[in-house]
Symmetry: C2
Subunit: 575 residues, 2 copies
């Protein structure tokens, strides 16, 4: 049975089921969401208006036995950045979509009635229900209630109060195998779902057609090679499993690139207290789980379950970026407060990176002082109740900066920077500046090469080679984000031609194709160009590919400054 | 004695006094502020950062006996729009600057110390004082206290709490001849002054060199012709004197172009209660002043003094745009509430157009219901105290819309539309879309030709001729805004070649030049192009020359829609 596309029109509440057009057949994940957005969404439209569409798509390899291939992509024009946007996450939904033979959901239009709806996806298609029972509730409660009502086996996507209130930092939550929460975090896609008045989506793959593999033997061979390579790599096979992504705190602090106090310093005196090592020990001492998966088939296991002092669950998927955003960035060295903040954000439904950066700007504005953990928790709860201050914070870092007349606002194209100072890790600066998504470290993650000496080395404090590095990684990532594979396979794949070929061979074996590495890179370039052209048509120019003015200030300890010329940055697009 | 430029560096608190460069000699007002901003301000800089500059300049004819020539221009990169910005107002300051032989103040840099300052301008130059006594106070109190301290004769520019808090809708207040308040309203220039920590500026022209006229006889002849023409015109000589600008309420309502309930309808059932005729009768019955000047030499007298029921002063310069913004736009038909709102905004220091549009969006968001006059007054006071909600409103209509996830937000380039529906008065739509200042009715005021049959007629409901009309008016206005003449002379001047020539002859007589009407229009075109080039260099594109999506909805009573193609709008720049 060939894959299907379901088109869900929220204006007349009708669902149609379409064959996959020839030109979309070789696409999945980000490649597919970005292509559909570029073809069907008017670039200048209002992101919360009737012309925007929310596209949800599993990756090309999702649902197969390929390790770490269970990522789900969502795409739209972003209410946070105004650019094209793709965000991806683990959880169970992607594999369920794939096993139902669903290539993508295209959700369009705006309801005429002021109410909330739910979508239900199963083997017979998609149904829309009016569903006000869950409106106003946090994601944790929604996940529980929906599982109780529709069964524990189903996949769930939901939005919290922030999404319902169409806040630009709102995310979409995805149920993971343990019923806790992963996030389609960046770019405010939860607000797009909220504008379409969809509180949650269930996905039930019972009796679905399953995933077809054109050449199962070839697939098996390639997927074994691939899995071995990912497991054998010291980063994806060891460090991430042990300490999670937060292993980076001490490394970045040592490198002088851990943004501290709203990007004022590059080292945080309290770094030990929030390090991956400390997270690990704390989790063990409280009988949490230091090594957890976000989707079936994950061999990296960077997630974890963090408990409080009494051994009760606080949060899962306690990431470096979140710990940085509320830790070093806000001068808070208390892991329990940061974990509680993470829980509140998952429940309210806001991106923890954007909100961490927004909180740093709020501290810059004097709303609460740097280091005020109790204040942070109070303000995060205000996001969920939609007070005026909560609304300001929920609109992201740029919104806080504009509302309070602040110039020290670390954003590019309206999206907050993340946990790597662009002055002392210059490759990341190029990625922040040029990413089609607004500032996004995952778009071209230069830290391995700049800091870890993985996949080569480019001196993080020098400009030489950074544009080329970011370009190569952004192209590779555009491809990777289309496969459904977790970005962390990049540590081993992008610089190992055998593994890269194994990845292409898994795609070839599944679809009966014969793509080379060059074909894969060409696809990555095509996706990036499609996204860039959308942004240009939306009114963006090279003037938007710039870091904020304050990065001309030197950052200790290296006293590094952001010193790329406009021409150097713009040369990124010469490919 | 040749004119001077004073450069005030707020970083090291030093003032230098410069000769006027040859290329700036033929410029004044907007032509000068825009030229200096374009030459000296980095287009991509942060408007509240150290690279922005605040330029203050009287017009070319300011200080002479030319009627209605006392306008003061201020310019900068706008924190509201991100574009170049010029705003002008009456009051006493412009003529004082001119009589001191001051061509412009260029205020640059940011203070290193967290305190407030005042500037004092007199015949010996400009001095900077640290001055915290007035910080936090409203403009009315500041005006009183400063006059008490420095004398009643001086000119004053000041910012209210909104400017101190760097809100994007903050204006700069200008003392008028009666000690009440005029406003350099649009574009948030008060926030730029606030970022430079200047609470107020005094201007004392005692023993100044005065204004030199190269050919006094020629000037006298030209200025007589000019004055006669302005006085003889039915709009500038009669209607405006009698009913003020609010004469337009009934006219626009009749035309179906009075935006009502956040641009949902084109007619307001309560229009009679807020009309110019009602304002006039109310003022007379309360012993106010229906016909008042904003600067010496005004023969139009469109301003007025509006008293409360007990005959006590409430506000002066009670304008159509303000009465529309809080009246029809917010469904409030109570003049006393709108007058009180005007008073609060003057005191707090926010643009009454931007804030009226922001209030309509706040009502759209459900913060208070449409028609809630008491709610409006409560919220305006919150702007002054800087509560989170006050901050949101003080950031302008776009900020309210973004913070509350609203799509019905009538702005172009971040600035609120004004009191003319662009669908049913299409010339105004072209001006809103293309103005270099963000949406600004004064940039190319098509109402006389579209609605009043003054200076020709172009059918307001048809597209034909509107681009050409707006272009002609925007070019003429760029010139007019450079002369220091009030925009309301445009009713008589721009379509009467004898008066246009008389205006040019006044300039010629003052400066010893021999400019023709064609030279004047060429100057207008040059100013517009300079501004447009600044905006392009700041990252704006033709995609920003667009009205919001919701204007595709038909507006009653004509069910007119915004139907210009992109190509038609973009043809504006073909000159």
């Amino acid at each position: 049975m060939p894959d299907k596309i379901y088109r869900i029109n929220m204006t007349d509440l009708k669902v149609t089921n379409e064959e996959v057009p020839e030109q979309w057949k070789g696409l999945g994940g980000r490649g597919l969401t970005s292509t559909i957005v570029a073809q069907e969404v008017k670039p200048t439209c209002h992101p919360l208006g009737k012309y925007n569409k929310l596209i949800i798509a599993p990756g090309l390899l999702t649902g197969t036995a390929a390790v770490n291939s269970g990522r789900l992509s969502a795409g739209a024009k972003s209410p946070l950045t105004g650019t094209i946007k793709e965000s991806n996450a683990g959880g169970t939904a992607a594999q369920f979509f794939a096993r139902l033979g669903i290539k993508a959901l295209i959700i369009e239009g705006l309801p005429q009635k002021d109410t909330f709806y739910s979508l239900h996806v199963d083997k017979s298609g998609v149904t829309i229900q009016e569903d006000t029972e869950f409106a106003g509730k946090g994601n944790y409660e929604v996940m529980q209630m929906v599982q109780k009502k529709y069964g524990e086996k189903i996949g769930i996507l939901s939005i919290g109060p922030a999404g319902e209130m169409r806040m630009a930092a709102a995310n979409i939550s995805v149920k993971d195998p343990d019923g806790t929460i992963r996030s389609l975090g960046r770019g405010g896609l939860g607000a797009v779902m909220g504008s379409k008045k969809i509180k949650f989506i269930t996905i039930d793959d019972t009796d679905g057609p399953g995933v077809q593999i054109a050449d199962p033997e070839k697939f098996k061979t390639a997927s074994r090679t691939f899995a071995k390579g990912v497991i054998a790599h010291p980063v994806s096979g060891e460090s991430l499993k042990l300490y999670g992504t937060d292993v980076l705190v001490n490394i970045l602090n040592e490198a002088g690139g851990l943004p501290t106090e709203n990007f004022r310093y590059g080292q945080f005196p309290g770094h030990e207290k929030i390090s991956g090592e400390t997270v690990y020990e704390t989790i063990l001492s409280r009988k949490g789980n230091p090594s957890h998966i976000c989707h079936r088939g994950c061999v990296i296991r960077c997630s974890q379950v963090y408990n409080d002092k009494n051994g009760n669950y606080v949060t899962s998927g306690f990431e470096y970026e979140t710990i940085w955003g509320f830790g070093a960035n806000c001068n808070i060295d208390d892991l329990d407060i940061i974990a509680e903040a993470d829980h509140v954000m998952d429940d309210v439904g806001v991106d923890s990176i954007e909100t961490g950066v927004a909180m740093g700007v709020a501290m810059e504005a004097g709303i609460i002082p740097f280091g005020d953990g109790a204040g942070v928790l109070r303000l995060l709860k205000e996001i969920g109740t939609g007070t005026p201050l909560g609304r300001i914070l929920g609109s992201g870092a740029e919104g806080v900066g504009k509302t309070y007349g602040i110039t020290r606002v670390p954003v590019v194209k309206g999206q907050g920077l993340s946990a790597y100072d662009p002055r002392s890790i210059k490759g990341m600066g190029i990625t922040y500046a040029t990413s089609t998504m607004g500032s996004d470290h995952t778009a071209g993650y230069c830290v391995p090469v700049n800091i870890l000496n993985v996949g080569g080395f480019v001196d993080p404090l020098k400009k030489e080679g950074q544009v080329e590095l970011s370009r190569r990684l952004q192209i590779g990532t555009a491809l990777l984000d289309s496969t459904g594979l977790c970005l962390f396979v990049a540590f081993s794949v992008l610089d190992n031609l055998d593994l890269f070929q194994a990845m292409m061979d898994m795609i070839n074996a599944k679809y009966g194709l014969s793509m080379t590495i060059d074909n894969g890179r060409a696809l990555g370039r095509k996706i990036l160009r499609t996204e860039h052209e959308f942004n240009l048509a939306a009114g963006f120019t090279n003037k938007d590919d710039r870091l904020p003015e304050f990065f001309e200030e030197p950052v200790p300890p290296h006293n590094a400054v952001w010193d790329f010329t406009d021409e150097e940055i713009d040369s990124f697009w010469n490919f």
